[in-house]
């Protein structure tokens, strides 16, 4: 189909560009504009100059960067060994390792923060025991330590999954060749394995870094405010949507994310270079002493990273849990509450995220099709805009939507778009679009154009070819991309908080937030959290079933 410009392709591309322009570029531009204009609507850089003049914002910028780097560093300490183990060893329970290690992504980090307080907090399980036995406590959760701890436990899977994909793409012979040349052990790792897994590792670290500097829930729940995202949110919601500093911070956040994406583009571009040659990956059956050590490490790493989940599970059954190691009174009421009294949170989540995932699959497949199969000018623009949501914090997108869609009635809804739940579906669709584009892009690249040509040669028209040949071939990639969109949308909070028009339209993440807002409802919130974990856990498990060993590649930049 590389046959010059086809007007249908052109039409499709312009339609997609228009759609993405309305729902991505324009809202973000509106946010950008606020930060670049003065009261009279003239262009000014004053606000940015002021930003760098203020010690508070300089400190927040520094703290954000530092927390990003620290999370990547500590996350790597857990993620890289786990990735190595999951890519290189065969053992029973490997699928459990792979599923469990994606579970941290499942709970919204702000819920994780609450749960972790119960375990590692000032008067959490661990410190109460320490106090009892040694009359001392360890401030795990204070200040930035707590933020970095929670975020490390939440975001390390991004590093792990990407690294594991890269590692399992390295064929055995590349390392054997080095051994054959006299190289082994640590040197072998440093000179061959490490450089070859670097693209995946960097891609993963990058996602983790961007997500950390955009993360809002964790610092808010831990009351650590000297971070950019938190400052932006506090500004916009406290002083008002007209507070220019909030927008300036938003723009700085976007710039930071873009800069890191751009800085790592070399690695992202060659991300797949280890797969140029196809061959068997290395894997070793675990046995003996090594097995014991490795299982011990897995147990320890997963045990720590699943602490928040344990905390939530216990909390969801707690009636009274106050300054004691475990709850003093248990109850099942919280589950009765969320399933029978207010079941709409669960229902809404399924409705919104499934529609969003479906739209993402359609859009992702269409965009990937144009990127891979067409020679249209403007392809690169399409690619850039479809990738942009990775760098746009949820808060920024939400603020942009309120700005753009609030004032006027959207045709067919009978009110502004922001008064309908459709705005949430749109936000989720946009936020997760990069994942399905990437997944379909990768899948489509594997389908040689000759397969399509064969179908056309046998008389199928273009549309039929796409539906009967191409789509079935890339179905695995599409489904996996859709599942990722579903899974991550389930726990989306940043844009949800700002966009939910009314409480009955809220999804689970909003429900958890609301419950956590009421002094008596924390445990019900935790019960919703457990439901979210189960939902997303199921989604992740299915992703692994569909994608197999390469499940991690779906979480890739």
């Amino acid at each position: 189909m590389r046959r010059g410009v086809d007007w249908r392709q052109g039409f499709l591309m312009w339609a997609l560009l228009a759609l993405l322009g309305i729902f991505i570029l324009y809202p973000v531009a509106r946010v950008l504009w606020v930060s670049l204009s003065d009261d009279q609507g003239r262009l000014t850089l004053l606000h940015f100059v002021n930003f760098f003049r203020r010690p508070l914002f300089r400190e927040a910028l520094w703290n954000s960067l530092l927390s990003g780097v620290l999370v990547v560093f500590f996350g790597s300490l857990i993620a890289v060994p786990l990735a190595y183990i999951s890519a290189r060893y065969e053992f029973r329970g490997k699928i459990a390792l792979q599923t469990l290690s994606t579970l941290p992504l499942v709970i919204p980090p702000f819920v994780g923060a609450v749960a972790l307080q119960m375990i590692l907090g000032r008067s959490g399980m661990v410190n109460l025991l320490l106090m009892r036995w040694f009359d001392t406590t360890i401030p795990f959760m204070e200040g930035m330590t707590g933020v970095v701890l929670v975020q490390t436990l939440h975001y390390f899977p991004f590093i792990m999954l990407n690294t594991a994909v890269s590692l399992s793409n390295i064929e055995a012979s590349l390392e054997e060749a080095a051994e054959n040349m006299g190289c082994h052990g640590w040197r072998l790792f440093r000179r061959i394995t490490l450089p070859l897994m670097l693209p995946g590792y960097i891609a993963g670290s990058l996602i983790a870094f961007i997500r950390v500097i955009d993360d809002l829930g964790t610092p808010l729940m831990l009351n650590y405010k000297n971070l950019l995202a938190a400052q932006a949110y506090l500004r916009i919601t406290t002083i008002g949507i007209d507070d220019v500093d909030g927008y300036v911070i938003c723009v700085v956040l976007v710039l930071l994310s873009l800069a890191s994406l751009f800085g790592a583009r070399k690695y992202l571009a060659i991300a797949e270079y280890a797969t140029v040659q196809r061959g068997a990956p290395v894997s070793e059956r675990l046995s003996g002493g090594k097995r014991v050590w490795i299982l011990l490490f897995i147990g320890l790493a997963l045990g720590v990273s699943l602490l928040p989940h344990i905390g939530i599970a216990v909390l969801s059954f707690a009636k009274i849990w106050s300054f004691s190691i475990l709850p003093s009174i248990y109850t099942l009421d919280n589950y009765v509450e969320i399933f029978f009294r207010v079941p709409h949170f669960v229902k809404n989540t399924l409705l919104y995220t499934l529609i969003a995932a479906g739209l993402d699959v359609l859009l992702g497949a269409a965009i990937a099709f144009l990127l891979v199969r067409s020679r249209l000018r403007g392809r690169n623009l399409l690619d850039a805009i479809a990738t942009l949501p990775l760098a746009i914090p949820g808060v920024v997108l939400a603020v942009g939507y309120i700005r753009v869609f609030h004032g006027w009635d959207f045709p067919g809804i009978g009110g502004p778009l922001t008064s309908s739940w459709i705005i949430l579906v749109i936000a989720y669709t946009v936020r997760r679009l990069p994942y399905t584009v990437r997944a379909s892009y990768a899948a489509l690249q594997q389908v040689h154009v000759s397969l399509e040509e064969a179908a056309q040669n046998l008389g199928a028209n273009r549309f039929k070819t796409y539906w009967k040949v191409t789509v079935p071939l890339i179905a695995g990639g599409l489904v996996a991309g859709g599942l990722i969109a579903f899974v991550t949308s389930c726990v989306e909070l940043a844009s949800t908080i700002m966009l939910v028009p009314r409480i009955e339209m809220g999804p689970i993440s909003y429900g958890i937030y609301i419950y956590m807002q009421s002094p008596l409802g924390r445990s019900a919130g935790a019960a919703l959290g457990v439901v979210a974990i189960l939902l997303v856990g199921l989604g992740t498990y299915l992703t692994h079933r569909v994608f197999g060993e390469r499940a991690g590649s779906a979480f890739r930049v």
């Binding site: 060749a177 006299g182 082994h184």
Partner: protein, 368 residues
């Protein structure tokens, strides 16, 4: 380093309950070009990997220059291996790839530069030093892999189907280059291939493998001309295999009736493991190039002459390949250098003629 002698003693390797190599014993002399030839899955690559140290044998011992090395790790064996897919490191340039082994050996910088340059010249790759492997053609990549291994002057050179990823013409060229290089360097070389032509062209000795064991070992000519058993006969070169029984033994010849009812005379040679007696069941092979195709009415007399009908004929310039139906089965016949000879077409009535010397008895089961 001096080329080494390689000896395998009763090597066995299994995956799970399945033995992929069993009871292999052989000795490869210094400077030999020794080939493991066999179909895929016969265990030849596994055997090569036990020599390189990537697969630990479950039984038996590997000796290098008389020293047992079965438990020496690959990085201490000093045997150079060229992988089937070349295994060039994509993150390093050609120069860095070739220099890798020298660096591992702690060579000085100038020495490395000098040797890499030489090695690249040796394989005709001047001027590619700063490129990445992905920027090279398949043939060039293959030669980088070779240079990378040769530059460290290993005691033994192991080649795992190095030519299988090249196109036919390139393969033929590289085959010759490899031959010259090996003979010049005098390095002990072990070669793994499923391509019998390659094996015959390159090797000083060949071990034909089937299902984990060596079925015949010998010089190329011996393997081709005196295959022991139908497997070798069929695998090495083209063949027409028959089964039958001996109806009469004369002085130096035997008359055999095949299962199809064809009667033919075979010359018996002292080289056979045991001469068939009357009533013995035998397996026979006649190479296609030993069979002449003549007109039915041609009067050439021979002790072995059969009437047949052409099923297919393929003219290939240097030879014509025929498939001819005789007594209800198909027989392949290659007429070499067909210039001036008559050309037959599908459906032509012909006769095939072959000498008793070309009817090889490859297996005998004496009658009880």
């Amino acid at each position: 380093m001096e080329p080494a002698q390689v000896r395998l003693e009763n090597i066995g390797k299994r995956y799970g309950e399945q033995w992929v190599v069993r009871g292999v014993t052989l000795q490869i002399e210094r400077g030999e070009f020794y080939t493991f030839l066999g179909p895929s899955g016969c265990g030849k690559t596994t055997l090569l990997r036990t020599i390189a140290g990537f697969a630990a044998p479950d039984e038996g011992v590997v000796y290098l220059d008389g020293e047992p090395v079965t438990h020496v790790p690959p990085w201490k064996r000093d045997v150079g291996m060229v992988f089937q897919n070349y295994a060039l490191w994509p993150h390093m340039t050609v120069f860095e790839n070739v220099a890798f082994g020298l660096r591992e050996r702690g060579a000085r910088r100038e020495e490395i530069a000098e040797k890499v340059k030489l090695a690249l010249e040796q394989v005709d790759l001047k001027g590619t030093a700063n490129r990445k492997p992905s920027q090279l053609s398949g043939g060039q990549q293959q030669r980088v892999a070779l240079a990378r291994t040769l530059v460290i002057q290993p005691r033994v050179l192991l080649l795992d189907e190095p030519l299988s990823n090249l196109d036919a013409k390139l393969r033929a060229e590289m085959r010759l280059e490899l031959l010259k290089l090996q003979r010049d360097l005098g390095i002990t070389t072990i070669y793994v291939t499923h391509d019998q032509e390659e094996a015959l062209a390159l090797s000083t000795r060949i071990a034909v493998m089937d299902r984990g064991s060596i079925v015949q070992e010998g010089a190329p000519r011996e393997i081709y001309e005196q295959p022991r058993g139908p497997f070798v006969a069929a695998f090495v070169g083209k063949s027409n295999l028959f089964e039958g029984s001996v109806t009469r033994v004369d002085d130096g010849t035997a008359e055999i009736e095949t299962l199809e009812g064809i009667r033919m005379t075979a010359a018996l040679r002292p080289l056979l493991p045991s001469s068939p007696a009357r009533g013995a069941r035998v397996a026979l092979n006649i190479r296609p190039e030993a069979i002449a195709v003549v007109r039915r009415d041609d009067t050439i007399s021979s002790s072995n002459r059969l009437a047949g009908k052409v099923l297919a004929s393929a003219y290939q310039g240097s030879l014509v390949e025929y498939e001819i139906e005789c007594a209800g089965r198909s027989i392949k016949a290659n007429v070499i250098n067909p210039k001036g000879k008559p050309l037959f077409h599908r459906g032509d009535e012909v006769a095939i003629v072959f000498a008793p010397e070309d009817v090889l008895v490859i297996k005998t089961e004496q009658a009880r």
